[in-house]
């Protein structure tokens, strides 16, 4: 498997990371080297093997539907790039 610069740009867009033409080329080289390593997996017959998502076979706990956290909005928003009236500000989405 080998990625083209166009594919690299498409993946970068999906990941919301801006890449220039020259970055796409360098990245393509690195990613193809890594995928060569990853390809070793394809030689293995895993028919009937249950995928392992997690190290421990446990299910998610449930807790009572009760408030457990204090209101710390001011402290949490103090680290945001831009807020106003308790809201996070971003560029206008709807014209």
């Amino acid at each position: 498997m080998s990625l083209t610069p166009e594919q690299v740009k498409r993946i970068a867009h999906l990941a919301r990371i801006e890449v220039s033409e020259s970055e796409a080329l360098t990245t393509q080289g690195h990613l193809n080297g890594i995928f060569e390593l990853i390809e070793q997996m394809q030689a293995v017959d895993t028919t009937g093997v249950e995928p392992m998502a997690h190290a421990q076979d446990v299910s998610q706990r449930l807790r009572p539907d009760a408030v457990s956290e204090a209101d710390r909005r001011a402290a949490y928003q103090a680290v945001a790039p831009e807020t106003e009236a308790g809201l996070y500000l971003v560029p206008k989405v709807i014209e």
Binding site: A12, A15, R16, I17, G33, P51, A53, A55, Q56, Y76
Partner: protein
């Protein structure tokens, strides 16, 4: 005082031979003097440290101190600590002051009364094996300052090796505690997945990440793990188990212990000097009464490929939170919302982090999910099953931690794949979720070699015992680099 173990420091504090303020000042002064060159710490706050030390002294005076109250340690900069800058080695969080404490921070400092000397440098978002991906620059290995300390917990390792701190925390997703411990002549433990809370520990690959202790000795690691481990309702994968005293079996004799040597760890691919030191350690274990048995981990060669699908997949999801909206870096100039995301992430993340996000995005994307992500998860099962089989005939597994000693700064940074192979012996342990340790077992070419011990699930106390008895019989762990006086 700087060479004392945690137990010795604990005794000195209890006997009022030294106060926590004096001890903390001693290490802060060393950091001030030696850190500009070694770059192990990214944040030091003398005032905060001394306030914690004064509080610890008050606890000691009041008779309410725990065994480690007043001992200063370093925190890997991946743990959120309220009021402390918490960067995770990234430009993305270069100015982020955490508004809350990680559970590990809460337990170690508020509950156990340990004092924080500051936050240690690390590979950006814990992605790296050399500490060279840090936004704050590489860390130098105190054993040879032209070499890397390993990574991603490289700052913690260098801090202890240079005795800028008696001990530290680390986190280990694919070897990030064990490999730097090996490269810096330290002892480090990655616990069973789920033993140490991940709450407030900035996520890289959530199904693999695990915090743990790093120190000079196995006993120090046991004492630290006592303060770090325990169920936490705020971590959805924290395990509900009774509390353990990890020091309980340190002194147990090793007679009858069955040590398994996986033949795959003793095949080609490991430096001769590293292998010679590991073989000598095996001889030492024979003298200590252990029985050596051959075992096999036939799928272990697939652990690096499977890891570089699973970890980036989880990382691409975890790191989607860094979008310039709620915290962290935001690009100064942008057009619409999408442009703000794209520029923020392009400028805020370093090259290795971007690479892993792109790999993860690709393997999770439509049409590739089955071939890569599901296949990797199936191979993960095969790797975990290999350990289950191996532990039928042995109690612990032994091998090298890393195939080489510390490599030169810049030696592997241009070739990601070469860097990834630095973790060939450690990654399988994370995929299986098992506990693993690194400990000093000799030198090759003047550089430390680390032995790796792997235990069955929840066998931390046994691993610590096996390491401790070895450290009673050898003095590798007491060797110190030159030039740190």
């Amino acid at each position: 005082m700087i060479d004392k173990t945690l137990k010795q420091l604990s005794q000195a504090l209890a006997a009022k031979e030294v106060s926590s303020v004096e001890l903390s000042t001693l290490f802060l002064d060393r950091i001030e003097r030696l850190n500009p060159d070694i770059n192990a710490f990214v944040t030091v706050d003398r005032e905060k440290t001394l306030a914690m030390a004064a509080a610890a002294d008050a606890r000691i005076a009041a008779g309410t101190a725990g065994p480690l109250t007043g001992i200063p340690i370093a925190q890997k900069d991946i743990f959120c600590a309220e009021g402390w800058r918490t960067t995770c080695g990234s430009k993305m969080l270069a100015d982020f002051v955490a508004p809350y404490d990680a559970t590990v921070i809460e337990k170690m400092h508020r509950d156990a009364g340990l004092v924080s000397l500051g936050k240690t440098n690390m590979d950006e978002f814990a992605m790296g094996s050399s500490n060279e991906t840090s936004f704050f620059g590489p860390v130098k290995n105190p054993w040879d300052r032209t070499r890397v300390p390993g990574g991603s917990s490289g700052g913690s390792a260098a801090a202890i090796a240079a005795r800028l701190a008696p001990a530290a925390t680390g986190t280990d997703t694919g070897g990030s505690i064990r490999q730097p411990a090996a490269l810096c002549n330290l002892t480090g433990l990655k616990p069973t997945y789920g033993v140490v809370s991940r709450y407030g520990m900035i996520a890289y690959a959530s199904s693999l990440d695990q915090g743990g202790p790093m120190g000079a000795t196995a006993e120090d690691c046991a004492l630290l793990l006592n303060t770090m481990a325990g169920f936490d309702a705020r971590d959805s994968t924290s395990l509900e188990r009774p509390a353990e005293d990890y020091t309980r079996s340190l002194e147990q004799p090793l007679a009858g212990l069955r040590i398994g040597l996986p033949k795959e760890f003793f095949a080609a691919g490991c430096d001769a000097g590293v292998m010679a030191a590991v073989q000598e350690a095996i001889n030492e274990y024979r003298r200590l009464g252990a029985t050596i048995v051959d075992v096999s981990l036939p799928n272990s060669h697939l652990s690096v490929p499977a890891y570089y699908v699973i970890a980036p997949a989880e990382a691409s999801s975890n790191l989607s939170r860094f979008d310039g909206v709620r915290y962290g870096y935001r690009a100064p100039d942008y057009g619409n919302l999408d442009d703000m995301y794209m520029k923020t992430r392009a400028q805020g993340f370093g090259e290795e982090v971007k690479r892993r996000i792109l790999i993860g995005t690709y393997v999770l994307s439509h049409g590739y999910y089955d071939a890569y992500y599901l296949q990797a998860q199936r191979i993960r099962r095969l790797i975990a099953n290999d350990f289950v089989d191996a532990f039928k005939s042995c109690d612990v597994i032994l091998g090298p931690t890393s195939p080489t000693t510390a490599f030169k700064l810049g030696e592997k940074s241009a070739d990601p794949v070469q860097m990834y192979l630095s973790d060939i012996y450690t990654i399988a342990v994370n995929l299986a979720g098992l506990p693993g340790m690194a400990l000093p077992c000799g030198f090759a070419g003047g550089l430390p070699v680390g032995l790796q011990l792997i235990g069955n699930y929840f066998d931390e106390a046994r691993l610590l015992n096996v390491a401790h008895r070895y450290q009673q019989a050898t003095d590798w762990h007491q060797r110190r680099p030159q030039g740190i006086e």
